[in-house]
Amino acid sequence: MTIEHQSTESGSILHRLNPSLKLAGLIIITTGILIYPSWRFSGLLLLLTILGFKASNVPLDVSKRRIRFLMAFSALLFAFQVLMTANGTILFFIIPKYDFMGPFLPVTDFGIEKGFDMSLRFLLVVFSSMLFVSVTDPTLLAHSLTRLGISYRYSFALVIALRFLPLFDMENKTVKMAQRSRGISISVRGMSRILRTIRYTFFPLLVSALSRVDALSLSMDGRGFGHSKSRTYLRKSSWTALDSAVLVLLSALLLASILLTLGFLPQISAII
């Protein structure tokens, strides 16, 4: 079984930060790059995220195949944007003029910029989410969200989701093995084969997940989940001076994103 989604125990600063603050950070970063789409801004935040992996001793190559897939998808996004964007100064054509044919598929400076922007934004959202999951204890997150006034019934949904991620990952691998043992090849040639592939993959996974949902819900009910509006906690999240300092920095980042979007920081806007 691969364990690649869970909070990696360590004493790093990122691990020690208040879980709600980390969630706020993730939301602020995502909001920032959505309202101020700049490849330099996204690149800067992506660099900081990668440094975050390093600082918290979370290996970025836990699942090399997945990272490769993400990088490939990001490259695909880049290529798609470059090919589909005709605006801007033409730098060259992918298919140059030959005799009386062409040229076709112009590559423009704006297209390249847009390509970088899309692919970096994609990588930032995925990597920052991965980092958040890796450095956040779900039980402490549930506690800190409860302290913010969110009902523990909802905050525990996060804990459950994270608890079952590795299990479903493992089950997916078992279903793939079962498919191979029955001679089923995954095929996307033709609509009927695509539908069959989807059915053969999702039916077993869905039924297995639903049966687990039943057992889990009985297990939680049988231990008094929802008995009263509040509950106690064995482990609690805390708020330190460091959290306050990081909150100030995150607020500044959000404010800067808004001001950049509204054009109030032209000097900085010219750089990033």
Binding site: E171, D221, G226
Partner: protein, 484 residues
């Protein structure tokens, strides 16, 4: 005392699962209920724990009483303070990521004070001999450890009655012995315990009384056990000319940094029925997947019918090998039992060549002939397992690889699977069965391979290997025939 009076229940208002059942569970007593698959044992546990009719709906009549008081108007969380149910699959019941969080989950929900929660976590883990697991992530526990943590998490709520549905299902013989010891300790502490068990022998030595649930009624157990045994099987003499059907040459496999299988070399010949035994986590299931060509080894090579398995397509694998996985849901793909049975012919493009009576005969033997139009996912666990076996063997492949095929099987299921395997050996095929049951090894198999930490520790005739296991400190494997 926990009791049900005149309880009847039907899920669909048509088929009665329980009919006027009366049962008392006393404190300081271990009661065991056995019975065929689908006889309503788990349903009875759900009624005793209060989930029926509060959470699970159906037509319910009768009453549940705790210490003489009718709890009809109590909520599930109020009943749960006194009655705790440990369900069959521990994996699905764990809802947090840390063992101490899991054990604390119940007391936290009842707003127990911090110091008391700490105390309950400590005491509950100690009661199941798992104090060392307190700070371990739940996803990294073995099957036996998960089972013990699940029991501890129920104990932390300080119930009076503990209901366990098939508690030994995922345990190896060591785990079963540990479970017996733990349950005896609970009994002596005054808990009223109800165990639902197919593998009666696992729990029989500690039971105060055994009841049987059959045809919607509960009665005293008649003392007969389901039995697949006959006289011990002779270790077959292999003809010198026989070519192996499966070969592993120096095979290793790792999950990340964990080496599950280490340098295994073996051959499986026609006529051999091999019991593959070993502790939980010793690499048995991984070895089966490697031999079936479903996993590709990190070192070494596996061959199926003399062809390197890495060169085989999915269709080649399906044509030569029948694999049954532990969870029946993972290998059901079609919408009806009939289509599931025919899937392999469809995939191998040989639907027209199949004599229809062959498929019918197998379904009939599996007890599924009347359920051809049913959705396979709506079948009971035992029926699904029989469908798994019938649908992967209907085209008569060379080798059967079955991972714990007898778990959760009643007598019908055990007999069907046993006969299927026997025929395979007699017809010149081969079979490998992952099992913890020495009875299966001696009565059904003519070879036993015992694995320890990913390597083959012993390989030979079942009797000789079991004797040797007794000598080297694995006596529980030799002593615990759970089908007996």
């Amino acid at each position: 005392m926990l009791e049900v009076h005149d309880v009847s229940f039907s899920y669909d208002n048509e088929k009665m699962i329980l009919d006027s059942v009366n049962l008392q569970i006393r404190r300081g007593e271990i009661t065991v209920i056995t019975g065929p698959t689908g006889s309503g044992k788990s349903t009875l546990a759900l009624i005793l724990a209060g989930f029926i009719p509060r959470v699970i709906k159906g037509t319910f009549t009768g009453s549940l009483l705790i210490d003489g008081e009718n709890v009809e108007k109590d909520s599930i969380s109020e009943i749960a303070r006194k009655v705790a149910l440990v369900q069959q699959d521990p994996e699905s019941q764990i809802c947090t990521l840390l063992v101490s969080d899991e054990v604390a989950f119940g007391p936290e929900n009842y707003s127990v004070a911090f110091s008391e929660i700490q105390n309950r976590v400590e005491v509950s883990l100690k009661a199941v001999e798992s104090s060392h697991l307190a700070n371990r992530p739940t996803y990294a526990l073995s099957g036996g450890e998960k089972q013990r943590v699940t029991i501890a998490s129920m104990l932390a709520g300080k119930p009076d009655f503990l209901l366990l549905d098939e508690p030994s299902a995922s345990l190896d013989p060591k785990g079963i012995q540990q479970l017996r010891k733990i349950l005896l300790g609970f009994k002596n502490s005054g808990y009223g315990i109800l165990c639902i068990e197919h593998r009666l022998a696992t729990i029989l030595p500690i039971a105060d009384r055994v009841l049987q649930l059959s045809e919607s009624k509960i009665s005293k157990w008649n003392g007969k056990t389901s039995s697949t045994r006959s006289t011990p099987v002779e270790h077959i003499r292999r003809p010198d000319s026989a070519e192996p059907l499966l070969i592993a040459k120096g095979v290793s496999y790792s999950y990340g940094t964990i080496r599950a299988v280490r340098d295994v070399t073996l051959s499986v010949y026609p006529g051999e029925i091999v019991a593959l035994m070993g502790d939980n986590g010793s690499g048995k299931s991984t070895l089966v997947s490697l031999l079936a060509g479903l996993l590709h080894s990190t070192d070494g090579t596996t061959y199926i019918d003399d062809v390197p398995s890495i060169e085989l397509t999915a269709q080649d694998v399906a044509a030569k090998v029948a694999v049954v996985f532990q969870n029946p849901n993972h290998q059901i793909f079609e919408r009806t039992v009939q289509r599931e049975q025919h899937l392999v012919f469809d995939v191998l493009d040989s639907l027209d060549e199949v004599p229809s009576e062959r498929s019918e005969d197998v379904l009939l033997a599996a007890g599924l002939a009347d359920l051809k139009e049913r959705n396979p996912f709506s079948l009971s666990h035992g029926q699904k397992r029989r469908l798994n076996v019938s649908s992967v063997t209907v085209h008569e492949p060379l080798v059967y690889l079955f991972d714990e095929p007898f778990i959760g099987q009643d007598e019908i299921g055990q007999n069907f699977i046993t006969q299927t395997i026997r025929k395979q050996g007699e017809s010149g095929g081969a079979a490998i069965l992952v099992t913890h049951d020495s009875t299966v090894a001696t009565s059904l198999c003519n070879r036993l391979i015992f694995m320890e930490r990913g390597s083959v520790l012993l390989d030979g005739s079942p009797k000789i290997v079991l004797d040797r296991l007794r000598e080297i400190g694995y006596g529980e494997y030799a002593d615990l025939g759970v089908l007996s």
